[in-house]
């Protein structure tokens, strides 16, 4: 439809632009897209070449000599015990995501549909907490975990992620719940349904898109976290990000492990992203632009 508008009135320069511009825009956009693809493609190809190949020539030579590709790095990586950090990532990410969804939908429901004194001020506090940097909690929570004796454990990492995921989660869900037609809730309340039942049978199912958005956000945020794991997870409980970070010091000699490990760590987020990108974008829009 934009093209029709463009055709309405053009000066000579405009006509020239329209004739050549279409092609030019295409070329520029292809170049930009390539620019964004090349770094990740590089990581993938490097992870599929052995050390000798990576040390002697650029990864782009695989375009002319595809025979050099091998799964050697991946077999070595899996043999080196990387799988345990993969499971740690899963054990941290799944509970942290489910807990945030459960706790924030309850809180969001209260903020949206239960009338209590100080509700609006309290919600403003939640909004204020949206931007609090996690650095503020690193030292105090380390002390707290020492006291609770969960320093280094998976539970400590999970709880930290849940707490810092809550402000955004409550904000997102409360805003969604407010938009649910009031008549639906009133009808259920007329029937004498308990508040817990209304929450579980009316609101929760209606809110699936919002919960999906929140779920994918929280999942990616926790899966990709490095800082929290760096501080609170000990070596036995470390997720992939921390395991890979500890290899960074010898970047030059560890490129086989680092490239294959980094690529493995981003496969699941990428699959999720492509499968649920609609919800991802919705969550982004609801969280940032209103």
């Amino acid at each position: 439809m934009a093209h029709e508008a463009v055709r309405i009135q053009r000066g000579p320069l405009g006509r020239l632009l329209e004739r050549t511009g279409g092609g030019l825009v295409q070329v520029i956009m292809v170049l930009i897209a390539l620019f964004w693809l090349i770094p990740t493609l590089g990581l993938l190809v490097v992870s599929l070449r052995d050390d000798a190949a990576n040390n002697s020539s650029g990864w782009w030579t695989f375009f002319t000599k595809p025979a050099q590709l091998t799964f050697e790095n991946y077999t070595n990586l899996l043999a080196s015990g990387f799988t345990s950090s993969f499971w740690n990532t899963v054990l941290i990410t799944v509970p942290a995501t489910l807990l945030v969804i459960g706790i924030s939908s309850m809180a969001g429901y209260a903020f949206a549909w239960i009338d209590f004194r100080g509700r609006d001020s309290l919600f403003l506090v939640v909004i204020a907490l949206l931007v609090v940097p996690i650095q503020i909690a690193l030292i105090p929570i380390a002390k707290l975990y020492g006291f609770l004796n969960i320093f280094g454990s998976i539970a400590g990492v999970v709880l930290f992620h849940v707490a810092f995921g809550l402000p955004f989660a409550i904000f997102l869900l409360r805003n969604f719940f407010v938009g649910i037609p009031r008549s639906l809730l009133e009808a259920a309340r007329m029937d004498g349904a308990a508040e817990w039942r209304i929450f579980a049978t009316v609101v929760f199912p209606l809110a699936k898109p919002a919960i999906a958005s929140l779920g994918i956000f929280q999942f990616l945020w926790v899966w990709n976290d490095l800082l929290v794991a760096l501080v609170y997870a000990d070596t036995a409980n470390q997720p992939m990000t921390k395991a890979l970070q500890s290899q960074m010091r010898q970047f030059g000699t560890n490129i086989d492990i680092l490239s294959s490990g980094a690529f493995l760590s981003l496969i699941i987020p990428l699959v999720l992203f492509f499968a649920f990108q609609r919800y991802f974008v919705q969550g982004l829009l609801a969280g940032s632009v209103k």
């Binding site: 934009a2 508008a5 463009v6 320069l13 405009g14 825009v25 520029i28 897209a33 964004w36 693809l37 770094p39 990740t40 590089g42 990581l43 002697s56 650029g58 990864w59 782009w60 706790i103 309850m106 809180a107 949206a112 549909w113 009338d115 004194r117 509700r119 609006d120 403003l124 909004i127 907490l129 949206l130 931007v131 609090v132 940097p133 996690i134 503020i136 690193l138 105090p140 929570i141 380390a142 805003n175 009133e186 309340r189 508040e195 929450f199 990709n224 490095l226 760096l230 990000t241 970070q245 760590s265 981003l266 987020p269 990428l270 992203f273 974008v281 982004l284 829009l285 632009v289 209103k290």
Partner: protein, 445 residues
């Protein structure tokens, strides 16, 4: 999405006066306020214990030294602004805040407008948006590879050297030099090779013959010129200062004929190392090979060195976030009434005027949100700096969030200073906290 929805008990508060009114309003059919406690309890406990209590504790802790019984008053905050390493982090954070949000927002706007003109917009958006799903650690590893110094490993330098070589030839032979003895017909003069007497033969050494394995054999000097060649036979043998059969030519070198210190003719050596000065009248000349011939080839930029490290990491950051900005701005663009744009075009406005005068002003709320989100994000930047900057360059690339971790957990051993840095970071984001609250109140009002 929520601004038009009715809320129980009247309108949602838009200010403190309304909050009181809401609380007093007659309650309709609905749950008792006490129910709220049950629904809110888990969230409130976690938020108080993990977020609010730490803010209070950090303020208190920041008044003590590395030992938490050493009261030092505000001197940790003083240290932030006097210590040279923390001053570097502040300087770097300022560079980040000035550059990154502006570039990300601008690129997002350009990409959003341009995607409206291609048919494969969805694919384009997915490609640019993809880095958002990837961990910053993985993005850091990706860019460590991109920025490798060796143009045969790092794609950034591979591209730069290819482009550079296309415009400036660097077919020289770094390291090539004449023999340093009296019999040698040429000698070094300020980096250039100049013949001593009336000779046209320029034998050079200093290059591994193996690297010239595919070069042509050196040819005999022509009448109107001479030969430049590598006066070394692979495996030994051969006569010094004479062209032997297995000796290789040095092709592509610039050769100048000098007379009385002036350049009177220039030539380039051919594949067999010979050069010709066809138009030159008989006389006494010396031959000079300018220093440019022996310079090391351009090896690209030292991305991960102390000077370029922050721009290099900002480049990686832009790669991660430009897609985010584009998607938000695209959504804003979709909400602009097409009539306004078309009316302006019918009135004869150029495409650029439409963009400047209509599109950008209508998009300004979205642009502001993207810009502010980026500033908040940039203030806390940690992973990319930590991963991309090699250990030796980290002091030059350091930022506040990284320094806070380093000082408290990464071997610094001073949680008093760490707490002060955390509070400093919190103070930096405070204006945006109020921005968010004000925006929310306006939207709900």
């Amino acid at each position: 999405m929520s601004s038009t929805a009715p809320a129980p008990g009247g309108t949602i508060a838009a200010g403190s006066a309304d909050i009181v009114e809401t609380a007093k309003a007659p309650r309709q059919l609905g749950p008792s306020p006490k129910m709220a406690i049950g629904f809110l309890a888990p969230a409130l406990i976690l938020l108080v214990a993990w977020v609010i209590y730490p803010i209070v504790y950090s303020i208190w802790r920041s008044l003590f030294g590395s030992n938490d019984s050493d009261f030092v008053g505000l001197s940790n905050y003083g240290a932030i602004f006097t210590d040279s390493s923390t001053l570097t982090t502040i300087r770097n954070n300022i560079i980040w805040v000035v550059v990154a949000p502006l570039v990300v927002t601008t690129l997002g706007l350009i990409f959003a407008v341009m995607t409206e003109r291609i048919r494969w917009a969805t694919a384009f958006k997915l490609i640019l948006f993809m880095p958002m799903a990837v961990s910053l650690l993985a993005a850091g590893v990706v860019f460590r590879l991109v920025y490798e110094q060796d143009p045969d490993k790092g794609v950034a330098n591979a591209i730069i050297t290819t482009v550079h070589d296309a415009f400036a030839s660097s077919a020289g032979f770094p390291g090539a030099r004449p023999r340093e003895n009296d019999q040698a017909p040429a000698a070094l003069q300020g980096g250039a090779v100049v013949t001593k007497g009336a000779t046209t033969l320029v034998p050079l050494v200093g290059i591994n013959p193996q690297t010239l394995a595919s070069a042509a054999q050196a040819g005999q000097p022509p009448a109107d010129g001479g030969t430049v060649w590598l006066d070394v036979v692979r495996g030994g043998g051969g006569a010094v200062n004479q062209i032997d059969p297995q000796e290789k030519a040095l092709a592509g070198l610039t050769v100048e004929a000098l007379s009385g210190g002036k350049v009177v003719a220039t030539a380039t050596t051919a594949d067999d190392g010979t050069y010709h000065f066809p138009g030159l009248t008989k006389g006494s000349y010396s031959v000079r090979l300018p220093a440019d011939n022996f310079k090391a080839p351009f090896g690209g930029l030292t991305w991960l060195g102390p000077t370029l490290i922050t721009p290099a990491i900002i480049g990686a950051y832009i790669w991660v976030w430009a897609g985010f900005a584009m998607v938000l701005i695209s959504a804003g663009l979709a909400g602009i009434p097409r009539d306004a744009l078309e009316a302006a075009r019918i009135d004869g406005a150029t495409e650029w005027q439409v963009f400047r005068r209509i599109t950008v002003p209508l998009l300004s709320p979205v642009l502001l949100v993207v810009f502010v989100t980026m500033i908040i994000n940039v203030l806390k930047v940690f992973d990319l700096v930590f991963i991309i900057a090699p250990g030796s360059v980290q002091p030059q690339a350091n930022v506040i969030a990284l320094e806070m971790w380093r000082v408290s957990f990464g071997g610094g051993g001073n949680q008093g200073l760490g707490s002060a840095l955390a509070i400093f970071l919190l103070i930096l984001v405070l204006p945006f906290m109020f921005f968010n609250i004000r925006r929310f109140r306006r939207d709900e009002g």
